[in-house]
Amino acid sequence: FVFLPSYRLICTQTCTQLCSDFASCCVNACVCLSVKFIPDFFLPVPEQSQAIVIYTGWERHALVGSDIRLSCSFFSWRWTSEDVTFSWTYRPDGSRDSISIFHYTGGVPYVDNKGPFRDRLEFVGNPGRRDGSILLKNLEFTDNGTFTCDAKNPPDIVGRPSSVRLLVFEKVPIQAGVITGAIIGVVLGLLVLIVVIYYLMRFLVARRVFSLSVSKHGKKKKEGSQQRQGPVPPADPSKIKV
């Protein structure tokens, strides 16, 4: 038994992405966007709940010829041991056999030097930070398949490996509705902008015209009062009654 101030992590939202940080993870290959810590009482934590939990992504999409980073990290109640191990296995789509492509143990990473990923695999993780990510370079169509990460943190070795599915495309498919939303948003935005600018210009022009007309009106009043004392229109002689 281990006496710990045991906190329970509960997910307050649905999970979407890889988690790599102890404080923001919850179960089963996802990351919580917000997390609540509920302090329990000081309870003895039974050994069963001390399983190691491994996180990878759920699915990864990539273009042919590009590189992709497959991330793997784990959550364990114990401190990160020096004997921590990471191992990646690969199962091609449609096949039932999986082969081991990467193993990290005793502080040394061992990459695939015979299999389908020879010279294309690189270890980019940081075991001290519980990160066992690998980088696959120059993807091919034959790389479609499931990659499984298994991490062990002695003495915490009981856990379930987590899998990420890799999909290699020739052209990245557009997500449903992205272009639709973009077009509608841009056009409506432009409309609002044009209306705002139009009314702003009218307001500014009206203000200028108003200030101009005030000064002109002042001048005209002076001239008008002078003109009234000017020449009287001559009377029509045929209309003068004698």
Binding site: I174, G177, I179, T180, A182, I183, I184, V187, L188, L191
Partner: protein, 158 residues
Amino acid sequence: MLMLAGIVVLHITTIILLLVATIDNAWWITDSISTDLWGKWVLTKSEWHYTNLINYPDEYLQTVQATSVLACIFATLALFVFVAQLFTLPKGQRFTFTGILQLIACLCIMIAASIYTAEFHTSESEGGYGHSYVLAWISFVLTFLLAITYLVLRKKSE
């Protein structure tokens, strides 16, 4: 007065036609399929099932969706602006803002229908255009006529 009521009724009819064209999945129909814009209805054993659209040129489909939605939005906006301008416009002036909005709606639905005609179902042997497609073109004509009307009409000055 009568003309005003007629124009408003025509405008509302145009909006309804645009909405039906956009929302109803019937741009292309065959004996057992009624498809397009948002999904596909397939008739199997006298039951209609709704499926997603697959193997469609994505960019064009989303553009048609966006422009037909925009046409509905602009037509509705034009109606509201028309009613507002009825009260705020100085006498003797034209309903230009309404006319412009209606013209943009006309342009949008024309773009939608044109792209659809050019890019979709170009090499299919059976089937034909459904009622949504026909309504889209009819609303193009109606929005055009209404736009011209708004741009020419003057507010009564008495």
